[in-house]
């Protein structure tokens, strides 16, 4: 399978803080790659660096055979990467409809079809179509954020901790949706909930203290008790 995104020895400073100190991994087209690691390990910053929100200080990021580490965020987004941030990034005073409309770069039939598709995935959004984004529940915001990333034709979706702060029932729903989306696009997922990650992910990358520790197939990690204990605090 072809490599869609390649992150190669990326270092990122935020202000004076050296947050990423050498992150490398690859995401193959059609797979779900999961970034694992404890709090503050640099997973969120890795996604932000890919998006150009906290640009890489050094290292290379190749997406779709083009290097993107110097590109501005909007260029990266239009190049085909959708982003679902940790805090969901919902525009609180815009309605659900408007939130999706802002995101839609081309309002053509294909986009509207995709919108129909995500609304089937998240019927709640249709129900609250004219409601302000700020008044949605945490789970609904998560769904809206994911829907918003999906209405454009993205080759790659970056999803940051979709289960954070959600009740288990809602997490199940979100997981189902990701499983659906996986059929249509490549996904990089940051997730602390290992069980959820292990069910969805094809490959994993372990990040600790801003560095890639190990990458591999998810099923290998499931059996590697030592690695899990050491870096995820499991067991």
């Amino acid at each position: 399978m072809s490599i869609l995104l390649k992150v190669d020895n990326v270092h990122t400073y935020i202000g004076q803080y050296h947050i990423l100190q050498g992150v490398s991994f690859e995401a193959k087209a059609g797979e779900v790659s999961v970034l694992l690691g404890r709090n503050g390990a640099g997973k969120t910053t890795t996604l932000k660096t890919i998006m150009g929100l906290t640009p890489a200080t050094s290292g290379k990021i190749t997406f779709d055979n083009k290097s993107i580490e110097k590109n501005p965020t909007y260029d990266i987004a239009t190049g085909g990467i959708g982003y679902v941030p940790e805090d969901q990034g919902i525009f609180g005073a815009l309605t659900v409809e408007e939130n999706l409309k802002v995101a839609m770069r081309k309002e053509d039939d294909a986009a509207l079809a995709r919108q129909e598709y995500v609304l089937e995935l998240f019927p709640d959004l249709k129900k609250y179509w004219k409601k302000d984004g700020g008044h949605l529940s945490g789970g609904q915001k998560q769904m809206l954020s994911m829907a918003r990333a999906f209405v454009n034709e993205s080759k790659l979706l970056l999803i940051d901790e979709p289960s954070k702060g959600l009740a288990p029932v809602v997490i199940e729903k979100v997981m189902e949706a990701i499983n659906e989306m996986k059929k249509q696009t490549t996904i990089i997922l940051v997730e602390q909930n290992f069980i959820m990650a292990s069910k969805i992910g094809d490959t994993y990358t372990l990040i600790d203290d801003g560095e890639t520790v190990q990458s591999g197939l998810m099923r290998e990690l499931i059996d590697n008790e030592e690695l899990k204990r050491k870096y995820l605090g499991i067991g």
């Binding site: 998006m51 929100l53 501005p72 965020t73 909007y74 987004a77 239009t78 982003y83 941030p85 990034g89 525009f91 609180g92 005073a93 815009l94 408007e98 409309k101 802002v102 995101a103 770069r105 302000d132 984004g133 700020g134 918003r148 454009n152």
Partner: protein, 286 residues
């Protein structure tokens, strides 16, 4: 009764002029987090260039268009040269925009001479209608109508168009707007130019209203616009309309009944709002 109506129209007209000035200020602040102390300079440039165009073409329509064009061009220059280098640094922004204000008003004196100029009301809008005992000055009514039309247009753009949606989204979360593939810096520039155009429009409308124009008028009016922005809520477009009308009316009634307090009343209004509701009457951030 007729006195009341006259004061009302007077206040509304002044309020509309302040609104046009404040609208740009508040939009720029809401979206870009920049408080532009040079905004009054753009206003004064609108007034002077409008009067100049009017003298040249003898057409008030062309004068208005000329002033707006001047505003757009100056807005472009200001954003690129003055605002862009200091995004995110409040103290520097305050200092540098004030510096640019000095340059703008001194440049006026270089280009148009240091003296104040007379501004004529175009013949079509001169004079007044008398309805019973009530005298309605045509030009004031004209300003009020223009003000409402501009408000309507901008409200439509903000609520109903894609660019307006992007601007409103940008006020709430700039990072996310970019992550959705929108070049927010371009949007910044457009909004800045639109705000400058509004300021210039306000200036050109102001000229026949007050009869004379002078370089310092920018600063004087800018203070009123600041007050309006604070009262209405930074970044709130409808808030600035309401606050501008409030300030205009307060000014016109006070000027008649308690002239000594006419400027003070606005300051008081602002002080009260700042102390008890520092975010203003309306809030724009969602």
């Amino acid at each position: 009764m007729e006195l009341l109506i006259n004061l009302l129209i007077n206040g509304l007209a002044t309020g509309m002029l302040i609104f046009l000035l404040a609208a740009g200020l508040t939009l720029i602040f809401g979206l870009m987090d920049v408080l532009n102390f040079a905004h009054g300079g753009l206003f004064a440039w609108g007034a002077f260039s409008g009067v100049w165009f009017y003298g040249l073409t003898n057409s008030f329509t062309l004068a208005i268009l000329g002033a707006i064009l001047t505003g757009v061009v100056l807005g472009f220059i200001t954003e690129k040269l003055i605002i862009k280098p200091v995004y995110g640094n409040h103290v520097q922004q305050i200092l540098i925009t004030l510096g640019f204000m000095i340059v703008l008003s001194e440049m006026l004196k270089v280009v148009f001479g240091p003296n104040q100029l007379a501004a004529k009301t175009p013949p079509l809008l001169a004079g007044s209608w008398e309805i019973g005992d009530v005298i309605i000055i045509k030009y004031r009514l004209f300003i009020i109508i223009i003000g409402f039309i501009v408000f309507g247009i901008f409200q439509f753009i903000l609520k109903r168009t894609k660019i307006g949606l992007v601007v409103r989204a940008g006020v709430m979360n700039k990072e996310m707007v970019q992550a959705l593939g929108i070049n927010i810096k371009k949007v910044f520039l457009y909004v800045f130019m639109a705000g400058a155009a509004l300021a210039a429009l306000s200036g050109v409308l102001m000229a026949p209203y007050s009869g004379v124009i002078y370089a310092e008028m920018g600063m004087e009016f800018a203070i009123l616009a600041f007050i309006v922005v604070v009262i209405g809520g930074m970044g709130s477009f409808p808030g600035s309309l309401l606050a501008a009308i409030l300030v205009g009316l307060a000014g016109s009634f006070m000027a008649y009944y308690v002239p000594a307090l006419s400027l003070a009343v606005n300051m008081m209004l602002m002080a009260i709002v700042l102390i008890f509701r520092p975010q203003g009457l309306f809030t724009a951030k969602g």
